[in-house]
């Protein structure tokens, strides 16, 4: 797999991480002309996507655990360095971020209120996300994590849905902020307790924290991050946030940010405090179970199209946490694949929801109907996303959920039996939307507004759908990478084998 064209010297990860934020700063200096801003933003997003694709293709599955490694001193006195590297788990997530960023920019073409600020904030957000995925330094991970959180407030509050945006934006920001600072305290405790004077996660993982320490701090660190992963009962911010956010931000948010929480919970919580994880996972998996089943139930009851998707994210992210909570390789592989799959899937969902809302000006399911007649490609895309969502074989959701459930079987057989109910619930709410919104009669009130979407929007949907189907049909295109990443961390965490 490894391509030789990658000179060691080019710091791909550094460029990927900093390009968006620098571009965002430069955007602020440009005149606020819509077309110019959009084109520049699209250019930057395209370059970033290409870079992430390069990293993805260049990652050698048979190579070292951490690749594309780069290190720059940052605060040596405190043991902090800008240490970037990707492993098998984070590489696809970097690609995911690239995809969502690219499609998000395209979908945001119609933003006409202060587009300059919009794209700038969005790019800052993107940088934060990239930074978390590639940081091997605990402190830098937090640093980027927080960078990823705060632009959300503005993006939602300014460009969001008028009805709830202030409330939702504030709720989201506070929830995430609380989570992250709680985790930060845990990280500081690790730093001082280890006595290594380093924030390097590879070193900290080998620090042999005492069992008592791990048992005490694991819940803080894990839950602190899992808040962003939408874990019940701290999931409340997420559906509100998703719904209030403008389309591209919902895509980013549900598509990537929630993964950030799960990923950081894995990297910091489970990898650094494995014994704590083994002690506490029995209740984490119960929380995740509530997520999975309860989220799906609530989604069934929603009348707002976007809320359905919002709660479906809660349900699906529960599966990710559940996979991690199994503490075995199958669960981990599945959870990692689910992160990618769900990321692309919700991005696609929110993109389609946005397109429908832009034209119909309503998201109430009873007020919609027959949209499929006007928007063929978005309908097809939504159906594909729906099939992924319900774990239909042949789509990425199945490839992800199957190992998760296998892992759950290994660890907690009874939970697998309960959790699987969510699949039927998911199917029922997805079918409801598909048949009510996209097919059926078109109400007269919205019929006049509906028209087809632009070519570039179709392109964006196509990119997203490609990954959903591709991964479902050829799991080999990504799963071996995840599997290898999981295999490499397995001894560290003491994961159960197959």
């Amino acid at each position: 797999m490894g391509l030789n064209v990658f000179a060691e010297e080019i710091p791909y990860l550094l460029i990927i991480t900093l390009l968006p934020i620098v571009a965002g700063a430069l955007l602020l200096a440009l005149p606020n002309r819509h077309k110019l801003i959009y084109n520049v933003a699209l250019g930057v997003a395209t370059v970033t996507l290409l870079l992430t694709v390069l990293v993805f293709l260049g990652f050698d599955i048979n190579g070292d655990q951490y690749q594309f490694a780069d290190e720059y001193t940052w605060l040596p006195q405190f043991g902090i360095s800008l240490k970037f590297a990707v492993d098998g788990i984070s590489t696809p997530l970097v690609l995911l971020t690239g995809i969502v960023m690219f499609t998000g920019v395209i979908i945001s073409q119609r933003i006409d209120d202060r587009p300059r600020e919009f794209f700038a904030f969005m790019f800052i957000l993107a940088s934060g996300v990239f930074g978390v995925f590639v940081s091997l330094d605990l402190f830098m991970l937090f640093f980027f994590y927080e960078i990823a959180v705060f632009p959300m407030y503005l993006l939602i509050a300014i460009w969001g849905w008028k009805e709830t945006r202030e409330y939702a934006a504030m709720k989201l920001t506070l929830y995430l902020f609380i989570g992250s600072v709680v985790a930060l305290i845990g990280a500081l405790a690790m730093y001082f307790t280890s006595g290594l004077n380093t924030f390097d996660m590879v070193d900290l993982a080998a620090a042999n924290f005492s069992t008592e320490f791990q048992n005490l701090w694991f819940p803080f660190v894990f839950l602190g991050f899992a808040v962003l992963g939408g874990i019940w009962p701290f999931h409340n911010w997420s559906p509100d946030g998703h719904v209030a956010a403008p389309t591209a931000v919902s895509m980013f948010h549900a598509g990537v940010l929630m993964k950030l929480g799960a990923f950081a919970a894995l990297r910091v919580g489970i990898m650094l405090l494995p014994e704590g994880a083994h002690t506490h996972m029995w209740w984490v998996i119960l929380l995740a179970l509530v997520n999975v089943v309860y989220g799906a139930f609530i989604a069934m009851r929603q009348n707002d199209f976007k809320y359905v998707i919002g709660f479906s994210s809660v349900s699906h992210m529960g599966l990710v946490v559940m996979g991690f909570a199994t503490l075995n390789q199958n669960g981990f592989i599945g959870a990692s694949v689910q992160m990618f799959s769900h990321g692309v899937m919700t991005a696609l969902f929110f993109a389609v929801v946005g397109m429908v809302y832009d034209q119909a000006h309503t998201r109430q399911i009873p007020e919609l109907g027959g949209v499929g007649k006007y928007m063929k490609i978005p309908t097809l895309a939504f159906i594909i996303g729906g099939l992924v969502s319900m774990g239909m074989p042949g789509f990425s959701g199945f490839v992800a959920e199957f190992p998760i459930f296998m892992g759950v079987w290994q660890a907690y057989p009874w939970i697998a039996i309960v959790a699987v109910i969510s699949i039927v619930l998911t199917a029922s709410y997805i079918i409801r939307i598909v048949s009510k919104v996209f097919f059926g009669e078109t109400p007269a009130e919205i019929a006049d507004h509906l028209h087809d979407v632009t070519r570039s929007e179709k392109l964006a949907l196509g990119v997203l759908a490609f990954f959903l189907v591709g991964l479902g049909v050829f799991p080999g295109m990504m799963v071996p990478m995840f599997a290898e990443g999981v295999r490499q961390i397995a001894p560290l965490i003491g994961l159960g084998g197959f």
């Binding site: 930060l184 730093y191 001082f192």
Partner: protein
Amino acid sequence: MFLTLLPEITLVVLAFVVLTTDLALDRQSRAFLPYLTAAGMLLAVIFTIVFALPGDKPQLIFGGMLRHDWLTFVFRLVFLFGALATVLFSAGWERVARRGEYYVLIITSTLGMMLMGASADLVMLFLAIETTSIPLYILAGFITEDDKSTESGFKYLLFGAMTTAIMLYGFSMLYGFSGSTNLYWIAGALMSGELPFISMMGTVILVMAGFAFKVSMVPFHFWAPDVYEGSPTPIAGFLSTASKAAGFAVIIRVLLTAFPLEAFGGVDWTMMMAIAAALTMSVGNLIALAQTNIKRLLAYSSVAHAGYILMGIAAASELGGLSVVFYIIVYLVTNLAAFGVVAVAERTLGSNDLEAYDGLSRRSPALALVLLISLLSLAGVPPMGGFIAKVLVFAAAVEANMVWLAVVGILNAIVGLYYYLIVLKRVYLFRSEEEDKPVPIPRPSAVALTVCLIAILVFGTIIAPWFDYSGIAAGALF
């Protein structure tokens, strides 16, 4: 010794120059005064860096009254920078821009602060504090035609006088116990272990009263919102940054040198400071929630920030000292920027009510951006300096086994984030009827704001050098 005092001497000279030029110039030309002041201060900065660089060993000068070490050095720069920015903001603030005596008072006060930061002797310390405070009383009430300003000056004076009196009482007891006014001597005397615990703690409390007033620590914070609200806005900024920094400079020096922890054995002042820190940030943040005036909001926020800084002091460790210095540096530029924006906006908006800030981002994107960055830095969001500063004080607390304090800090950080976001919501989200009227930024303010903005971002991203300097400065105490 002459060279090490050169910055102070420069300020004294500058004060005379400004005073005399003021007399010589007509009203129109007096617009030149702030630039003259700024130039002089810049000169003082240069002198500080070039001639007054401390050596490896601390140096006692002025008959042992002053101690010339890295702490002194760093705080000198902090005060000078604060004063410089304040002068630049004042240049665009019409009601004070052309008043020579206004600048003289700022210079004098700055001089006092610089001496505060360097004092190694109780007598010198008291003098320095008064040199700082008296000009500030006047400055706070400088706009005599405004009742609020007058009230503010008078209130400040009364509070100041009272707390200074208590502090002085504490000083006298210290002298009585130890037979010396030199801080380092006092430490030795206390270390002898002959003093009862109750007297030592009592003295700490008495002495702290005066300092606590300076840094607006709860329960000595009542003056802050009223005084900030009434004072000329640049002065409010000055009070909340440089003056507060001076207070902290004294606190860390006095507590860490004159009251060494070893002298107490078991229960010492760290717990007291930790409780004070927790109270200060909680009270500041919670009351800030209810504010509708941006100056009052920033006043309470600055009370809260005093609480965060006290966390570092409560840790009473090298990292704690370092975090305090770092925090002060970052806080200085951040809060200056925030007050700078308020000062600029006030000229056009004509009000300091939060409502007046509706739609500011449409009226002046640049000003809104500065406010955004400074408030987010205050809230502790990366890549702004405030994040690093907060992390460091939290780290100090965790290191000192005060996890509970760090948790209180977290909760406060969240409350803080909330009200900062409320302001930003108005700026970015709300619309107003006057959206088409731009908000011009006077050039000197623009310069100062740009510098602050860059500093905030630099402190938040390229940390290592500042971390080092803070470490060296704090190291002078141990």
